[in-house]
């Protein structure tokens, strides 16, 4: 659907994107993650021609984006919807007019029916005549989504779509995007700095840091066996104990069923403390995470046990979280 090869972009002397390669398949949700200033939004804008680039090639729906200009570029843009962090709605207009806007630009037929259908889809049918100013953040983003879908795009580009929203609203917007992806078979490219968003929604992802690719691949695999650079970006918010060895354990569903941890304690006859743990949702799966602290004396025995039972584990340093990862 979207293909990026060896993309480079400079602002003056500063290279903002360095040799980016990615492939977004039809119907998938693709995530681009990184801290602010990593170049993610710029990368997104290269995909629909809002930004130009100096080197490399971006192909969207089979056409080379850089080769287009004028009407042909506008035509491509109309087949790619976009939503924004700050919603970018016209504050003076009501919900209906905002959603109808792209259709009026292109002189689309049956505006009334189509807008009402879209508002129904995003759950704002009753607010069609309300002014956008008076809506909450979540509702504004729903208007943004409805507007982005107005021209029946094949791709939806999301630029930090949930970054200005509270966690609960974020979840409801993500659910909506998930629905849209499934029901309308719409390809979605999400740019975000929120790891939670990526884990919850993205099938595959590209991780950026200061314009360079840190990691890319299928979401689940990347989080279960992160590279060293990636673990630096994906740190746990737990304070690790200074003494002993901190080990991060990961339980995919099949392993979660077994009582591995208590079994290990009994069979090795050792004690260890639990630093923290949580359940994380990856797409439709739930993974368990547990960080335990083992006295140095028992370290080898524990690691040996983990090795034999084919668990995902990772030894954490206090200085540098995550030095190695094995199954």
């Amino acid at each position: 659907m979207i293909h990026v090869e060896h993309l480079h972009k400079w602002y003056g002397n500063r290279e903002v994107l360095h040799d980016i390669n990615l492939h977004v398949s039809e119907g998938e949700i693709f995530g681009v993650v990184g801290h602010s200033g990593a170049g993610k939004s710029t990368l997104l804008r290269c995909m629909n021609g809002l930004e130009s680039y100096q080197q490399g090639k971006v192909t969207a729906m089979g056409v080379d984006v850089a080769s287009l200009s004028g009407t042909s570029l506008r035509k491509l843009q109309s087949s790619m919807g976009m939503i924004f962090q700050n919603f970018n709605l016209m504050a003076r207009k009501n919900v209906f007019e905002n959603v109808a806007f792209p259709m009026r630009l292109w002189g689309a037929p049956n505006i009334k029916e189509r807008v009402n259908e879209l508002l129904e889809l995003v759950g704002l049918a009753k607010r069609a005549m309300q002014r956008v100013q008076n809506l909450s953040g979540g509702q504004k983003q729903r208007v943004g989504i409805a507007r982005a879908l107005a021209l029946n795009p094949r791709v939806l580009l999301c630029d930090e779509a949930t970054s200005a929203l509270d966690p609960k609203t974020t979840m409801s917007i993500l659910d909506l995007l998930d629905d849209i992806n499934r029901n309308l078979k719409l390809t979605i490219v999400m740019v975000t700095h929120q790891m939670e968003v990526v884990k919850r929604l993205c099938h595959s992802l590209l991780m950026l840091d200061r314009g360079k690719t840190v990691a890319s691949g299928v979401t689940e695999e990347l989080f279960l066996s992160p590279t060293k650079e990636m673990s630096k970006m994906v740190t746990d918010e737990y304070t690790l104990l200074k003494s002993g060895t901190n080990i991060r354990l990961m339980f995919p569903r099949d392993i979660s069923q077994q009582s591995i941890i208590t079994h290990m304690a009994r069979s090795l006859d050792i004690d260890f403390s639990i630093v923290g743990g949580k359940l994380e949702r990856y797409l439709d799966d739930v993974f368990g995470f547990l960080i335990i602290n083992v006295p140095d004396a028992h370290k080898d025995a524990v690691l040996g046990y983990l090795e034999n039972h084919h668990l995902y584990w990772q030894v954490l340093d206090n200085e540098e979280a995550g030095s190695c990862m094995r199954r």
Binding site: K75, L76, Q77, G81, M82, F84, F87, L105
Partner: protein, 232 residues
């Protein structure tokens, strides 16, 4: 007590007769002022608007950046705005004569008023355009809007409320300028106030002129504020 009132009445009587006597002239001057201010506001808004759109399009961060053109426009606007109005008034008399055929009267005053106000309007409206959320413009672009569509369907509608507020600023400034135009035979309330109040020491006539000017300012501002509230 009684005597004071009679005394005051005796003092007020000549004022009253003089007011009645000069009323036609005051009304005539008010009409001339309204005429000058209205027409010069309309013309300067028209030319200023075109200039502002030209500047926002060629702005280095604009819709179709063209820094060279922008720099020229920017310079011309600054240059015209730095002329003291009274100098401009006299300096462009040949142009005025060319356009209206005379350099005297309120019709002739409209030309320098427009020339003085148009760059001012251009700057004000340019600021209104610059204040339009860049995100909204980007959103329009992401749906494939052309530059013309962005100007007429995003920029102008979104900037409209603040442009209306600035109409009040322009009209009131022109009201002040029109008083100066009076000194070169443009007529109007400012002219009246200077002729009677300053040259003939008839302070009462000057006071009437000032009161009417005050009411006009309040009216212009009030109407524009109301419009702003409706549009916003």
């Amino acid at each position: 007590m009684h005597e004071t009132i009679i005394h005051l009445g005796a003092w007020a009587e000549p004022l009253w007769t003089r007011f009645l006597e000069k009323l036609p002239e005051i009304l005539q001057a008010t009409w001339e002022t309204l005429d000058m201010v209205f027409l010069s506001t309309v013309f300067s808004m028209f030319f200023g608007f075109i200039l502002a759109i030209w500047m926002i399009v060629t702005n280095p961060l604009g819709l179709r950046p063209c820094p060279a053109v922008y720099r020229v426009l920017d310079f011309v606007v600054n240059l015209l705005r730095s002329f003291p109005f009274i100098i401009l008034l006299i300096a462009i008399i040949p142009i005025t004569r060319f356009i209206v055929g005379t350099s005297i009267g309120s019709a002739a005053a409209i030309v320098p008023l427009t020339v003085a106000a148009a760059p001012f309007v251009a700057r004000l409206i340019e600021t209104c355009f610059l204040e339009v959320d860049r995100g909204v413009i980007e959103a329009a672009r992401s749906f494939g809007a052309s530059n013309t569509q962005i100007i007429f369907r995003v920029l102008i509608p979104e900037a409209l409320p603040s442009i209306v507020l600035n109409v009040a600023v322009v009209a009131i400034t022109l009201l002040g300028y029109s008083a100066m135009a009076g000194t070169v035979g443009g007529g109007g309330l400012g002219d009246l106030a200077v002729r009677y109040g300053y040259n003939r020491f008839q302070v009462d006539i000057m006071v009437y002129a000032v009161i009417i000017l005050c009411i006009l300012v309040l009216l212009i501002q009030g109407v524009c504020n109301l419009l702003y509230k409706v549009l916003r």
